[in-house]
Amino acid sequence: MYVAVKGGERAIDAAHAWLAEERRGDLSVAEMSIAQIRNQLRLAVNRVMAEGSLFDPDLAALAIKQSRGDLIEAVFLIRAYRTTLPRFGATQPIDTAQMACIRRISATFKDLPGGQILGPTFDYTHRLLDFKLAAEGQLPPQAAPTAPPVRASMPHVTGLLDQDDLIQPEVDAGLAPPDLTRSPMELPAARALRLQALARGDEGFVLSMAYSTQRGYGRTHAFVGELRIGMVRVSMEIPELGFAVEIGEIEVTECETVNQFKGSKTEPPQFTRGYGLTLGQNERKSIAMSLVDRALRWRELGEDWSGAPAQDEEFVLMHADNVQATGFLEHIKLPHYVDFQSELEMVRKLRAEARAYKEAAE
C-alpha cells in the first residue's frame, strides 16, 4: 500500500527544474518545434495518438516533446488531457471502403480491383543505416514520382470472398457499442469492447500476443487479406440541425485477416476474419490487433479452448493498456515505508521464533 508522505518539496522542485533542463538538452543544439516532431517523427506521433486514444497530431507531438521521447509517458499525458475534455457525442462509424488509400496491399490476391499500392513503406528497404541522413543541411529529397490516380473507391478484399459465401459475413445488426471509457470493463467482453481495448492497447503487448499465436499458442492460420492506410472522413450528426456533417478527416490503418477455418460444431467450413483498426499509420499494430482479435473469437466460432494466452480475454484485455500497467508497475517505486516497516518487523519476529524453536529443540 502507498501511504502519503510529507516533505521533500525542495528536492522535488530541484528535480523538476533539472528535468526541464535535461529535456531541453545542450543549449548549443537547436530546440525542436512541435511542427518538426509532427512532421518528422510522424510514426511516433501516430503511436501516441492510437494508444492515447485521441486523434490530435499537435497534442501528440507536444506530449512527445514534454516526455523527452518516452512514448508511454506521452500516451499517459494524452490520456490525462483527454479526461479534461467534455465529450460532445459519437461520430457515425467511419466507412473504410471510402478510404483515400495511400497504401493498400493484399497477401491473398495478386490482382485485386483497385490494385496493390505500396505507399510510403519500409518494406523492401535494406535496413542499412543511411549515413547521408546524419549530414545536416542537405537538399530536400527528390520529389516522389507521381502517376495518374487509380480509381477512387477500392472494394474490400473480404467483400469479394463474401460474395461466394467463402468467408464468415460481417453484418451490421445495429448494436450500440459498449465504451470502456464510460463504464468499467466487464468480462466476458463483447467483441466491440475487445476491439476498443486492442485499438488503444500497447503496441508491444499486442504484437507479442499476436506473435504467440503464430508460434502455436492458439494458432489462427492468418493471411493478411488486406492492409490499407489512408484518410477517411469523419461524419457526425449535429444535434441542433438533425443532419450529419463531415466534420473532419483522419488517417487510419485497417487490417483484415482471412483465417483458415475447418468449421466447428456450430459454424460451417469457411474463412473467418480478424480485424484491426488504429488511429494514424500504425501498420504493425493493426496487423497484430487483427490476429489477436481472431484468437479471442474462439468461443463465438465454436473452437476449442487451447489455454493459449492470446485466447484468454481476461489475460489480454486486462494487460493490454500501458497506462494502467505503468501506473501499477511504477507505483511500487514510491514510498512504501509503512508497508515495508511492517514486513521488516514480521520477518524479524519469524526469525526470532525460528531461532527460539531451534534452541528449544537442542
Binding site: 492510437a50 483527454r82 465529450r87 502517376a147 490516380p149 470502456l180 467483441r191 483484415e256
Partner: protein, 154 residues
C-alpha cells in the same frame, strides 16, 4: 455582395468544408472573401474545445465499436441580422470554430450567396488538390506482382 448563380453547396457540404479546412487557410481565404471582416455577431455557445468518439465497424461492415476520440471545437453564433450559425470543427482552434459558425449563419442569407464562389469553392479546390497530390503519389507506387514458377514444379 455581387449577385451570383445558384449556390454550389448545400448546408452539410459547406459546414463540412469550413470544418475541415486548415485554420490558417480558412483565415486567409476569409480575409479575401470578407475584406471588411467578420459580420457582427454574438456568441450563443462556445467556442468550446471537446472531443467526439470516433466509431469504426468490425470487419469494415459489421457492428460499430469505439475506435478512439478526436478533438473538436464547437461554436454557435447569432448575427446582428438574426441568422444563427453552428460549427463543429476538427481540432482545437477557437477562432476557426467562430469563423465557421459566422460563415454558416451568413450563408443562410441569399444576400451572401457570393461566398459560395469566393470562399467555399476555393476551399473545396484546395481540399481536392491535396487529395489528388496524395493519390498521384500513391498511384506511382502501384505494383504488379508476378508469381514465379517454382523449381520443383518445372
Amino acid at each position: 455582395m455581387q449577385a451570383s448563380p445558384a449556390p454550389l453547396f448545400d448546408r452539410p457540404a459547406w459546414m463540412g468544408l469550413l470544418s475541415r479546412a486548415a485554420p490558417q487557410m480558412l483565415a486567409e481565404r476569409l480575409a479575401l472573401a470578407l475584406p471588411e471582416g467578420l459580420a457582427d455577431h454574438s456568441l450563443l455557445r462556445g467556442p468550446e474545445v471537446g472531443s467526439v468518439m470516433v466509431q469504426g465497424r468490425m470487419g469494415g461492415t459489421g457492428d460499430a465499436f469505439h475506435l478512439g476520440e478526436m478533438t473538436v471545437t464547437r461554436c454557435s453564433v447569432r448575427l446582428a441580422t438574426g441568422e444563427v450559425g453552428h460549427a463543429v470543427v476538427q481540432g482545437r482552434s477557437a477562432e476557426q470554430a467562430r469563423r465557421a459558425a459566422v460563415v454558416d449563419a451568413l450563408l443562410q442569407n441569399p444576400l451572401h450567396a457570393g461566398l459560395h464562389s469566393s470562399l467555399l469553392a476555393p476551399l473545396a479546390e484546395a481540399e481536392a488538390t491535396a487529395a489528388r497530390g496524395r493519390a498521384e503519389k500513391a498511384a506511382a507506387t502501384q505494383v504488379e506482382f508476378f508469381t514465379l514458377m517454382r523449381g520443383e514444379d518445372a
